[in-house]
């Protein structure tokens, strides 16, 4: 495999694609949002159970490419049990990781933890929106924009 491709499809990403964590639809939730990427057909719902400023529960459901699915899975893992301020900070750091040319700062790196594996997506501009999709949906869910499907086109 080329180094560039290896950077994109890291083992962690392929593993989360094969066995997505937090996959499914909860019986109840406090927030939810729909994220779609019409060009390639990525299509997910993100469900949150937020209590006292903490993400007590998170699940996601839908279908899409390996990058979008593993990103949703790893996002869920990263935000479960976390305070909203921390979740927002993680989201901002993640979107910076995907879009900024310079390497992320040390503080952002520690915020991101395992999510740093998505750094390789940067070399594939058309795939950035796949990685960003569930995080954009998370953002919309927290803002209460459930009615309006968000799109990363």
């Amino acid at each position: 495999m080329s180094a560039r491709l290896e950077q994109l499809y890291q083992e962690t990403i392929l593993d989360h694609n094969r066995n997505p964590r937090f996959f499914g639809e909860p019986a109840a939730c406090t927030h939810k949002a729909h994220g779609k990427n019409p060009l390639c057909g990525d299509d997910y719902w993100v469900y949150l159970d937020v209590r006292d400023g903490v993400i007590e529960g998170v699940q996601f459901n839908g279908s899409g490419c390996a990058i979008s699915k593993s990103s949703a899975s790893m996002m869920s893992e990263a935000i479960k049990g976390k305070r909203l301020e921390d979740v927002i900070a993680k989201k901002d750091a993640f979107l910076t990781l995907l879009t900024q040319d310079e390497p992320v700062s040390d503080s952002e790196k520690s915020l991101l933890g395992k999510l740093i594996v998505f750094e390789g997506v940067k070399k594939y501009p058309v795939r950035v929106k796949c990685a960003a999709l569930s995080w954009r949906a998370l953002e919309a869910a927290l803002l209460g924009d459930e009615a309006q499907a968000i799109s990363t086109e």
């Binding site: 390639c40 057909g41 390996a66």
Partner: protein, 407 residues
């Protein structure tokens, strides 16, 4: 397979010798757009550097000459489609504009509440949405002929849906997502039997087979230059002259009028009536060069070579595990759509690109087809006469490699 002839023509396309990161380009997205032979690029260059001027206006030499070149392209298109007369060829911006032009006119002229427009389940969005809008504007109803699991039109359903209420039928000649070649002459005959007019979306057909609008009997035929080895931004609408004469203008402005006062305007006769404003002059001239080139290659070779490529690719791809072909019609153009178990087309597209193989991964602007086959998207390899058996091998190897990486 006639490889040596294909290689000779391949050399006419400079982009096809592109090498990136040590890999030569395997271009298999011909259904989206075709590459350009040097003669087309050279024609544009010469026009812009030595001959450029506007058409239909100037009394000076450059303008008269540009007008002559532009009119020559119309004549070339007219012969290419075997139109009964030159004035049946309207030069547009592409298939999309050609269909919109007809749909908007038809909705004002021939549609009202209770009438029906018939399209099919294998249409490109460009042949769905304009008719939805035409029905919305006129109160007519849109009906859709279903397809079968092989991706062919359900002709029994077509016969059932075709009634005296049907005022217009709009159907794709060759499906961009499935490759299916539809029985246009039969469809036209049946439609005319109930008094309906027929538009054929030929965007995917003209690069693969000779088209004779008089033999097909259709009332309108649309295609784009960029899918026929010509420049982007130009296209064609063939229309039976007696019908073009009835259609109202689509856009209004310069060049499509006879006389203008502030009280009223009289419109020019077709085709000028439908060619408002300064057209894509260079692109239309380039289209003429592209058609001359295609004619020099000849459809006999094109049809045979593409059929060989399709057969070879279909056989090799079908032998792989975990693969499903989408679109297995009897009569197919050289389009191979497939999905891989557990691997999303977007990932396939990325891995294949890494191998230097350009295919299309997506819904191909045909979301209803994707819904019918229960897939979000497909991988589509589409071949042209400049592809060779090496390209097929590289495709198959890249798909195997993708299964290995993603599996």
């Amino acid at each position: 397979m006639n490889e040596s002839l294909a290689r000779k023509f391949r050399a006419d396309f400079p982009v096809l010798s592109l090498v990136k990161e040590g890999k030569s380009l395997v271009y298999l997205d011909n259904a989206a757009t075709t590459q350009k032979p040097r003669v087309v690029a050279d024609r544009l260059y010469r026009f812009y550097t030595e001959e450029y001027g506007t058409i239909h206006r100037g009394v000076y030499f450059l303008s008269q000459q540009a007008t002559q070149f532009y009119d020559e392209s119309r004549a070339i298109v007219s012969r290419f489609l075997n139109a009964a007369k030159l004035e049946e060829i309207v030069l547009t911006r592409g298939t999309t504009e050609s269909i919109n032009l007809v749909a908007s006119g038809v909705s004002k002229l021939w549609l009202s509440v209770g009438d029906e427009v018939l399209i099919t389940a294998m249409e490109h969005h460009a042949n769905i949405v304009p008719w939805q809008q035409a029905c919305l504007a006129s109160g007519a109803t849109l009906k859709v002929v279903p397809i079968t699991l092989t991706g062919e039109l359900d002709m029994d359903a077509f016969r059932r849906l075709l009634t005296t209420k049907t005022k217009f039928v709009s159907v794709v000649h060759v499906s961009n997502a499935l490759g299916t070649v539809n029985p246009i002459a039969d469809i036209v005959q049946m439609a005319h039997g109930v008094g309906a007019k027929v538009l054929v979306d030929g965007a995917q057909a003209v690069s693969h087979m000779p088209v004779d609008v008089q033999a097909l009997g259709c009332d309108f035929y649309a295609f784009s230059s960029h899918k026929l080895f010509g420049p982007t931004g130009a296209g064609v609408l063939y229309g039976r002259y007696s019908l073009l004469e009835q259609l109202p203008p689509y856009q209004t402005g310069g060049d499509m009028i006879e006389t203008v006062t502030f009280e009223s305007t009289t419109f020019a006769k077709p085709p000028a009536r439908f060619e408002a404003g300064t057209p894509a002059i260079a692109e239309v001239i380039g289209l003429g060069a592209a058609i001359n080139y295609v004619n020099s290659v000849g459809f006999e070779f094109i049809a045979q070579h593409e059929a060989d490529l399709l057969q070879c690719a279909t056989e090799q791809i079908s032998r792989l595990n975990g693969i499903r072909l989408i679109g297995t019609a009897q009569n197919k153009a050289s389009v191979l759509s497939f999905v891989l178990d557990g691997i999303h087309p977007h990932d396939v597209g990325t891995v294949l690109d890494e191998c230097g193989v350009a295919i299309r991964a997506g819904h191909h602007c045909a979301q209803p087809i994707m819904a019918f086959f229960g897939v979000p998207a497909t991988n589509r390899a589409s071949f042209s006469f400049y592809n060779v058996s090496d390209d097929v091998d590289r495709l198959v190897d890249a798909v195997k490699y993708c299964q290995q990486v993603m599996g």
